[in-house]
Each structure stands twice: as structure tokens, then as C-alpha cells.
């Protein structure tokens, strides 16, 4: 804490130009870097999604060969998960956590710099595999052996970039935990922390728990391929299913890593625009913690078809169904917060409401899939694709949009263009549904996922889905335009920005000073 009080005015000076960004240890600069990186990856991953939807627009092979198609699905997922959604949340954490808890900066600023600057290298390496002999990884983002071992020259680069992305995440998580634990303003007890801080604290623990597991799994792949081990090679006494267990032990908590911070964002925005306190703060905290805990017990629901014993299937079925309880608590709380409020519908609120609805739809399909005897039918079909895109796009991504609109005036000191913001919202919401809703039908009708071509009975809904996809993709250019416009200027934002907003970040000027709180505020 002592650093907070020794910073004085001349520290406001910092290197200018490019070097400012390379050497920066400032939480806002690093937050901005993370967000820009995430946005870039969002567009690159999005472009790959456009390739996928273009190929699937009609039956037959039109644009790409099947191998490249598989590379596209694989890379789209890896880039969106590790390049777009996770860094976007870390960027938001960097910007917001110090301002929300009344700290001048993150606790470990140099590590903060490093954890960001690993990302561009990892990302470049991953994207670079597109140009290697044998093509980019095409075995799915889940990297199941033995298939993934058939990857060409890209294989070690895939593994190494996953390692780097993991290291970056772990360092980011450590920083967040240390900051939250040590740098809260006097009087801010744990149970007074904003929910975004709470959800990120829990997310950070999840990250530290599972990223090393992923690193271990991919290292075992590496030694299987290059150093003669047989961890996953049945012919050598290994077990290909072992990888799936390890992967999903990482992978399921990973799903919550991508949604818990979104819960925190929505829990901040809805009370603001309903002008009413969050209905149940403490139950929200406990629900988040229970979801995080349960996330370690459900991994094999991704593997109901691998041939588990009945008792195993029952256990994972029950545990998975159980997650519906704390998730329900969250949704009910948001609705109860809106109930009898005095609502206005600015863009962040619109995105948050859409989040609650559409995430819940994703939750419903999740509940359906939790039941093993039906999951035998749903598994590896477009029903699953629809499910996880509902929780990730109008789920996680919409929450990120909401957060950006909500805090952008604070960050830049400029209001965004509300009309354009609303337009962005309506177009996104309509087209995200045109894009993903028909995929439920495709899955139920029997279309497997990850196929470049399909039988003609699936043609109609694929066409609709692709049109939705192109329109959704184009709409995001509008988002880019709005962002650039706001950063460059616009009507000045007040410090309070939103009438109903509460929290320490709104006591700072808009834009906030370089070091957020040089004097720790008092929290009552």
C-alpha cells in the first residue's frame, strides 16, 4: 500500500509513443492493450467463422478443402477462446479492479506487462501455423489424440503457443488475486467487494487450478509425438481416453472462466439501470463459488459416449444437473433486481438483458444435455454447437460488449453514440439468433458438428444460419466504428456517467487519472 502514497505528480509523466506501450506497467495501459489484442483476435477468429459459414452455406464443397475447413474450426475455437474472450476479460479486470477496490494500480505491475506481452507472440505463432507445411492444426480445439498427432509441422508450435497462453493466464490470475487480497481500500471487506471483483477472484483461482493441467496434457502429447512416450497411445500401453479426462478437467472449469466474469459485469449493470440494489448480493457470491466448485466435478459430461461405466455416467449426470441450481439463483436474482425497478434501456442495459435471456436459453439446452441418455443423441451434433455458442456469444461476448459500453465513457471521458450503440445491439441480437437458433434444429435432425459438407436435408437451416453469421459478422464492424469514434471524441462524460451507478470507479474523474487512487478512499 505504501507505493500508493509515494506516487506524486511527476509520476504522471510516462514514455510517449510506441515505447510507452511496450514498457508500460500501468494497469490502464495494459488493460487497453489486452482489449485491443482481444478485439483483433475477435476479428481474426470471426473471419475464420465466416469461412466456415460460407462453406456451409450450401451442400457440396465450394470454397475450401476439408482439411482446411477442419483447420478453420480448430483455429476459430482456439483464437476465440484463448485470444478473444479470455484476454478481453483480463483486460477488463486490469482496467476495473484497481478502480473498483480503490487501489492505485495492480499489485505486480511488471508481471502485468509480461503477462500481456506474451500474448502477441503466442497468438502470432498460433496464426503462423496456417502457413506451415501440413497446414494449421485441424484436430479440433480439444486436441484429442491420436488425431492431433497427425498434425504436420504445426504440431510443436500449437503445443508451445498453448503453453505460452497458459503462462500468460496464470500470471494474470496471480496478479489479480494478489491485487484483490492486498490492495483493497480501507473498509472494503470481502463482502463489500463489487461482484465483478468477486467473480474475477474466483475465476483467477480457477485459472491457477486448471491451466497447469492443460499444460501437462499438451506436454504429454508433445512427448508422445517426439520422445517415444505412450501416454495416449493404446498400442504402447497408453490410453487415448486419458487425454480426454485431463483435457476436460481443464476444459470444464475453463467454460466457467469464460462466463463468471460475465456474471460479474451483468450484476453491476442491471442494478445501475434498474436504479435498484442487486437483489441478493451474498447469494450471488455463494452461487458463483458453488458454480466454481461444481465445475471440477462434471468434466466427463463432455464424454458420455466414450464408454464409461454406468455409475460414472450417473455421477456425472447428477453433478451436471446440480449446476442448474446456482445458475438458476443467478438468473432469478437478476430478474428480481429488475422487478419494480425504474429502468432505462441504454446500450449496456440492453446487452445485459439480452445476456440474461440468451444465456438462459443456452442454459436450458445445457440442462437437456446433462441427461446422459439423451446426450447420446445430442453429443457431437450441431445441438451442442448451438448450446455453447449461446452461452459464449450472446453470453460471454455480449457481456463484454455491455461492459465496454458501460465503462467506455469512464475510460475515455467521452460518451459513445447512443443511437449507434442501440443499432449495434439490435442488429447483433437479431442476427445472433438467426445464426445460432437454427443450429438447434440441425443438431436434433442429426447433423454432426465439424463437417464441411452435409446431406441435403440440412440445407435450409444451414443457409439461414450462414446468412445470420454474415450479418452478425458485418455488424461487428459497426462496433469497431463506434469504439474508434468514442475514443476520438464525443460529448464529454460526467464523472458519475450513469445516474444509478454505484462504486468507487465512478468517484474518479472521467477519464480517470493515470494512477487510479493515489490516496486510498474510505469505504463505509
Amino acid at each position: 500500500m505504501s507505493t500508493a502514497t509515494t506516487h506524486d505528480a511527476h509520476h504522471e509523466e510516462h514514455p510517449k509513443g510506441l515505447l510507452r506501450w511496450v514498457f508500460t506497467t500501468n494497469h490502464k495501459d495494459i488493460g487497453t492493450l489486452y482489449l485491443i489484442f482481444a478485439l483483433t483476435m475477435f476479428f481474426i477468429g470471426g473471419a475464420m467463422a465466416m469461412v466456415i459459414r460460407a462453406e456451409l452455406f450450401q451442400p457440396g464443397l465450394q470454397f475450401v478443402n476439408p482439411q482446411f475447413f477442419n483447420s478453420m474450426t480448430t483455429m476459430h475455437a482456439l483464437i476465440m477462446v484463448f485470444g478473444a474472450v479470455m484476454p478481453a476479460f483480463v483486460g477488463l479486470a486490469n482496467w476495473l479492479i484497481p478502480m473498483m477496490i480503490g487501489a492505485p494500480d495492480m499489485a505486480l505491475p511488471r508481471m502485468n506487462n509480461w503477462s500481456f506481452w506474451i500474448l502477441p507472440f503466442a497468438g502470432t505463432m498460433l496464426i503462423g501455423t496456417l502457413f506451415m507445411q501440413g497446414g494449421a492444426p485441424a484436430g479440433g480445439w480439444t486436441m484429442y489424440p491420436p488425431l492431433v498427432l497427425q498434425t504436420g509441422n504445426a504440431f510443436p508450435f500449437l503445443i508451445f503457443s498453448v503453453h505460452l497462453l497458459g503462462i500468460s493466464s496464470i500470471m494474470g490470475a496471480i496478479n489479480i488475486i494478489v491485487t484483490i487480497m492486498n490492495m483493497r481500500a480501507p473498509g472494503m471487506t470481502m463482502m463489500k467487494m463489487p461482484l465483478f471483483v468477486w467473480t474475477w477472484l474466483i475465476t483467477a483461482y480457477l485459472l491457477i487450478a486448471v491451466m497447469p493441467v492443460l499444460a501437462g496434457a499438451v506436454t504429454m502429447l508433445l512427448t508422445d509425438r517426439f520422445f517415444g512416450t505412450s501416454f495416449f497411445n493404446a498400442a504402447g500401453g497408453g490410453d487415448p481416453v486419458l487425454f480426454q479426462h485431463i483435457f476436460w478437467f481443464f476444459g470444464h472449469p475453463e467454460v466457467y472462466i469464460m462466463i463468471l466474469p460475465a456474471f460479474g459485469i451483468v450484476s453491476a449493470i442491471i442494478p445501475t439501470f434498474a436504479r435498484k440494489r442487486l437483489f441478493g448480493y451474498s447469494s450471488m457470491v455463494y452461487a458463483t463459488a458453488s458454480i466454481a466448485f461444481l465445475s471440477f466435478l462434471v468434466w466427463a459430461h463432455h464424454m458420455f459416449t466414450v464408454g464409461m461405466p454406468l455409475t460414472g455416467e450417473l455421477f456425472f449426470m447428477y453433478a451436471t444437473m446440480l449446476i442448474a441450481v446456482p445458475t438458476g439463483v443467478k438468473v432469478f436474482n437478476w430478474v428480481a433486481t429488475m422487478w419494480k425497478g425504474s429502468m432505462t434501456f441504454e446500450t449496456p442495459m440492453l446487452f445485459s438483458i439480452a445476456f440474461v435471456m440468451l444465456f438462459t436459453i443456452g442454459g436450458f439446452s445445457g440442462l437437456m444435455m446433462s441427461m446422459a441418455p439423451v446426450d447420446f443423441q445430442y453429443h457431437d451434433t450441431y445441438f451442442i454447437v448451438a448450446h455453447f455458442h449461446y452461452v459464449l456469444v450472446p453470453g460471454a461476448v455480449f457481456a463484454i460488449f455491455a461492459a465496454v459500453y458501460y465503462w467506455l465513457p469512464k475510460w475515455t471521458g467521452n460518451m459513445y453514440d447512443e443511437k449507434l450503440g442501440k443499432l449495434h445491439f439490435w442488429l447483433s441480437t437479431i442476427f445472433v439468433n438467426v445464426l445460432f437458433f437454427p443450429q438447434h434444429f440441425l443438431g436434433l435432425a442429426g447433423m454432426p458438428r465439424r463437417i464441411p459438407d452435409y446431406s441435403t436435408q440440412f440445407a435450409g437451416f444451414n443457409e439461414i444460419s450462414s446468412i445470420g453469421g454474415f450479418a452478425f459478422g458485418l455488424t461487428q464492424l459497426l462496433f469497431l466504428y463506434i469504439l474508434i469514434k468514442t475514443v476520438r471524441g464525443g460529448s464529454k462524460a460526467t464523472d458519475q456517467v450513469w445516474e444509478g451507478a454505484e462504486g468507487l470507479e465512478w468517484t474518479l474523474s472521467s477519464p480517470p487519472p493515470y494512477h487510479s487512487f493515489t490516496v486510498a478512499p474510505e469505504v463505509k
Binding site: P59, L314, V325, S342, V374, Q377, G446, F461
Partner: protein, 375 residues
Amino acid sequence: MFVSKIKRLLTAVVGFVLLFSVGGASADYVLNLRQGVTPISHDAYDLHMFVFKICVSIAVVVFGAMFISILKHRKSKGAVPAQFHESTTVEIIWTVVPFLILIAMAIPATKALVVAEKPGQPDLEIKVTGYQWKWGYEYLGENVSFISALSTPTAQIYNKQPKGPNYLLEVDHPLVVPVHKRVRMMITAGDVIHSWWVPDLGMKKDAIPGYINEMWFNIEKEGTYRGQCAELCGKDHGFMPIVVIAKNEADYRKWLAEQKSKKAADSASADRDWSMDELKMRGKKVFASNCAACHQASGMGVPGVFPALKGSSVATGPKIAHINTVLHGRPGTAMSAFAKQLNDIDLAAVITYERNAWGNNTGDLVQPSEIKAAR
């Protein structure tokens, strides 16, 4: 104002969706899970509908409350925020009620799962092996086995011919089973993980190298049922369909007898000497359905992934090395062992073909007897 906006939008969306569904009306639309033709598939369907209805009811309540709130509790209507928050009673209610609903779901789900996984005395056992990118079937105890691969012509896939009615869901050798019999499938894989799935049978099981997974079905109705590999298995994952034909007992017996006599004829001719032309002709076909997916019909392969056989040192070098490569594959690569997938004649034919096609003019002739000796 806001409401009318929503109305207009909804009309737009519905109109939009209708437009496109009419536009592509040639395809018949399936909206829901298929009911299928086995007890397991009916269970799955019933459970699916049960939970779907629960979800819709919850959605009506939750989204209903949200919409009422959105319409009524808005500042522009002069709504004043209420002050209530934190209620342990309410929190307990909305924890316990969902929990009870879950129990109501878990009971039928458990029952269905127990039935689906119940071992029972099978009437017929078939071993299924997934290969990149075809299925091998072996009728255990019957000495009948064959490979089943996509039969849709490439020209249809590349849009040079109109697509047939069973585009991508047709195979050269369908699996034939009797109706009203409990069929046990023993599922494994020869290279990477695949997944055997026919929606109408209500079950999918992964085909995993080193594992033998079991699943069973009992088909109620004669007919042809189509499915696909459901686990990503590489380049042609989308092109390894499954076709199951369910016949009555008598027709099934007849089919089985035909298979046996075909096999007997084959093994008789395996002992004679084959001419170059015979082998090359047969080899070209075997190559097209078993090797061309990777090595390409041109023999040029795919650089960096699948080696060219045209001018390859193996295909133009000593015969025995070539034979061994094809028989035993290259462990750890996509080149799988074909010893168990193809018979001696087919192997002799394809190797002879490779040694004498695309300018590989070795003039070598590989006889089925040489394969037999090398096995």
C-alpha cells in the same frame, strides 16, 4: 413507442425466417429429435420432450416476469424503484424448487440410462472398426466381414453433378441386420477416434483404438437407417456415413448366405495367378475407395501431409518393403495397417497398381499368394 418497435422487429424476424424457409422449401425440415426405431431411441425422445417442456415452462415464468418488468417498471413510465433486497426466504425457495424439478428429471433419466447400458444376451454380435474414413464390420461367429465406405460420387460433392437423394449418406456395403433381434455392437477403431451413430437407433458410441465399446439396439421396423461418424477424425470426417438396413429374419439369412458364398469364391481365386491387367483394373478400384482420400487419385498426395506415391522410393523400390508398408502401416502416422481391412487379392491388386500407375513403370506383378506369405 418501444413496444411498437419490438413488434416491428419481431415481424421482421418472422418474415425473414419465413422468407428463407420458403426459399429453400425443396428440403424437408426436421425441427425435432427423431423418435427412432428402437426402445432406447424412444426413451431418449420422451426424455427430450419432457425436459424440453420443463424448460419452456421455466422460460415462460422467468422471461414473462422479465418482460412484465421491462414493460411496466421503466423510468419513462414514472416507475419509482422499490427498495426491497435480500430475502433468505425467497432465496431458499428458488434454490429448493429447481432442485425438486431436477429430481423429477433425474428419475426418468436414470431409468433410461440403466436400460441403455444394460448388458443383455445378444442375438447377434457385430464388431465395428472405425478407420480413416470408412467402417469395417465383422459378423462375429459368421465369418462375414467387409468394409463400408462412402459411395457418393466425387462429382456430386464438387457440384459437377446434381446431388442424389441420399447425398453423403450412402455407402457401398451397408450393414444388414435382422429386425426384432438384440444386436450387440462391439466398437473399436484402427487409427484415430471415431464415433458410430445412427440417430434412429438412439445411441452413439465412440470407436477408440485400444478399446472395445459396447452398445446394443433392437430395431422394431424394417427399413434403411442412415447416420454418420460423429467424432472428428480428420480430413474426411464428414464423409464416412453409416447405413443400416434392417431386414426380416428370412431376408437377413439370405443376405448372410450370399456374403458367405462371395467370400468363398474370393478365397478360391486367391490361390490362382492373376494377370497384370486383371490386377491393375481391380487395383485401381481398390485404390480409389481406400487410398485416394489421402494419396489422391493422381498419386501426388498432399504435400506435407500425405506423401506422393508417384515416383516414391517405396512404390518403385523393392516389392517386399512396399508390401510391408501397406500390410502393417506406419505406426504413429495416418498410414494405417491394411492387413485386416483388405483381402489378399485386393492388396495384391492395389500394390500392383501403385507400382505401375502414374509413370511408376516397375513392371512388377504382385500376386495374392505373395501377400499371403508376407502376412
